[in-house]
Amino acid sequence: MNDYILETKDLGISFGGLKAAQNVNIKIKKNQIYGLIGPNGAGKTTIFNLLTGVYKPTTGTFFLDGEEICGLSQEKINHKGIARTFQNIRLFNNMTVVRNVMVGLHNDPAFKCTVWESFLRLPRHFKSEKAMRERAKELLKIFDLDDERNNYACNLPYGKQRKLEIARALATNPKLLLLDEPAAGMNPHETEDLEKTVRFIRDEFDLTVLLIEHDMKFVAGLCDELTVLNFGTVLAEGDTRTALQDPEVIRAYIGG
């Protein structure tokens, strides 16, 4: 029904005098894996923060699947179908791995159970808990984390923490998944694995992925299209290969 799952229109934000992002127009088709790249400080994470409602834009708006969701709170935006991971990992460190994912399943209508039902431990409480645990285990299996499910999240190695964060985001059943530097700190082998996993979840869960990444090999191998940002503005966009060979982009990266 709608060509684009995400469409931003002149999205911009300024902090005091600093324009962290301006006139950003991104159009992402359904089921694409879309890259958002640029040098440090280009405003990539700012765009993520705008899309997830952490910041409210000073100009412009954006649409998810044709519906304007700009201005909603973070949790509402998540309910509408955008989930994200964070650059500096934000897990629930004092909870076990499986519970981290179960928090992600919290709003799934399949596991509905009101506060009152929990107070009194009515049958639905047990049913939903059990179903949530099963579903969480399934999700963890995708990321090879099911053996770790009873460990505390903070005790996981870095690479697994990144995967767990993706699993938790996935649990909220998003239409659009935002990954903020998913391959950061991973070795080439793990990166390769991740590449496969991202493709797999895209197909399996019928979703669209928007990712920020500095690893150009990873980006080139995975992304269908991308947008290059520099100083808060769009430098180039379009097909991955073409965009990466754009002389402007090369100059922005190497400097000069």
Binding site: T45, N49, V54, F86, N88
Partner: protein, 316 residues
């Protein structure tokens, strides 16, 4: 207990019934409120300065600050038994500084880098500890001590205690001196650096631990002065002397914007006026504390950073 209840700053009765006399009465009443407000506010400002310094630099709410005032007042009481006021005041400042630094080293320093909630709970524990220690040493009945009687003067037909003016003058001088200290001296600039970013300050060669110790020393000496003001107003010391004023002065610091030196002054004076005005109106006088705390809650809700505070935001 409110400080203003203890104030002895009465209006000389006009006696006449004519309109002019009534007007003069109202005028005198106003002057009384202003002078009282400034003086009570001065004390709050003095305590609030201590809170603001420590909060701004060590990023912790030193709950025990109010109780250091009490320690200072007891120090004055003890030394006054054997010596004169000047010695007593100096001793009190030294005792408070030692106490402040000791508390910092023993209770707060091990928790640097731990969760702020843990630090806050420890600070509450220290406050409690000081109060109970004081009661064990000095007993629960209040001690009477007259530091110095400045007497009173008449201004425009209003009898004004001289110490109120002294309080105010000292507070203003201290505030200006502190501002200059922070802006002009090496240590002051190091303090600003530490308050902005501890890690970066350390990398720049600043000894963060020393700076925090100095901050506690300054804050505690301000508490000693506040203790002195207290004794000038009401010549009794008890172990809970600092608790309520401490909390209210924190209110003042928050109202002014925590971390801001002029903000502490502003908040203190504002709170002083509110207290004096509320005490004059019979209907609401018993609710003075409640009113002050309500103002705190409202200001925190409407402008959580206070009047002169800076906003910060969490990185995502």
């Amino acid at each position: 207990m409110n400080i203003s209840n203890l104030l002895d700053c009465s209006v000389m009765s006009g006696g006449g019934a004519s309109f002019g006399d009534k007007l003069a009465d109202i005028g005198r009443e106003l002057i009384t409120i202003i002078i009282n407000g400034l003086s009570v506010g001065g004390i709050y400002a003095m305590i609030a300065l201590g809170y603001t310094m420590v909060y701004g630099i060590a990023k912790m709410l030193n709950f025990a600050h109010g109780d250091i005032i009490m320690v200072g007042a007891y120090a004055i009481y003890v030394v006054m038994l054997i010596s004169n006021p000047i010695v007593a005041i100096l001793c009190s400042i030294v005792v408070c500084i030692l106490m402040g630094v000791l508390i910092e080293k023993v209770a707060y320093k091990p928790l640097r880098g731990a969760s702020p909630l843990a630090v806050l709970i420890t600070a509450i524990g220290v406050s409690y500890l000081l109060q109970s220690l004081a009661q064990i040493i000095f007993g629960s009945d209040p001690k009477f001590v007259v530091v110095y009687d400045f007497g009173a003067i008449n201004i425009l037909g209003v009898r004004i205690q001289v110490f109120t003016l002294v309080t105010l003058a000292v507070t203003v001088v201290v505030m200006v001196a502190l501002t200059l200290f922070v802006k002009m001296t090496r240590i002051g600039r190091a303090m600003i650096a530490v308050s902005e970013d501890k890690g970066a300050a350390q990398l720049m060669g600043i000894n963060v631990n020393n700076i925090i110790t100095v901050t506690f020393a300054i804050g505690s000496s301000l508490a000693a002065v506040a203790g002195l003001f207290y004794l000038l107003k009401a010549p009794t010391v008890s172990n809970t002397l600092g608790a309520m004023p401490g909390i209210k002065a924190f209110t003042a610091a928050v109202i002014g914007g925590i971390g801001s030196i002029p903000g502490a002054m502003l908040g203190g004076l504002l709170l002083g006026f509110v207290e004096c005005i509320a005490a004059k109106i019979t209907v609401i006088a018993p609710y003075t504390d409640a009113i002050e705390f309500s103002i705190l809650i409202i200001i925190l809700l409407v402008r959580p950073t206070g009047f002169l505070g800076k906003k910060r935001r969490e990185k995502v």
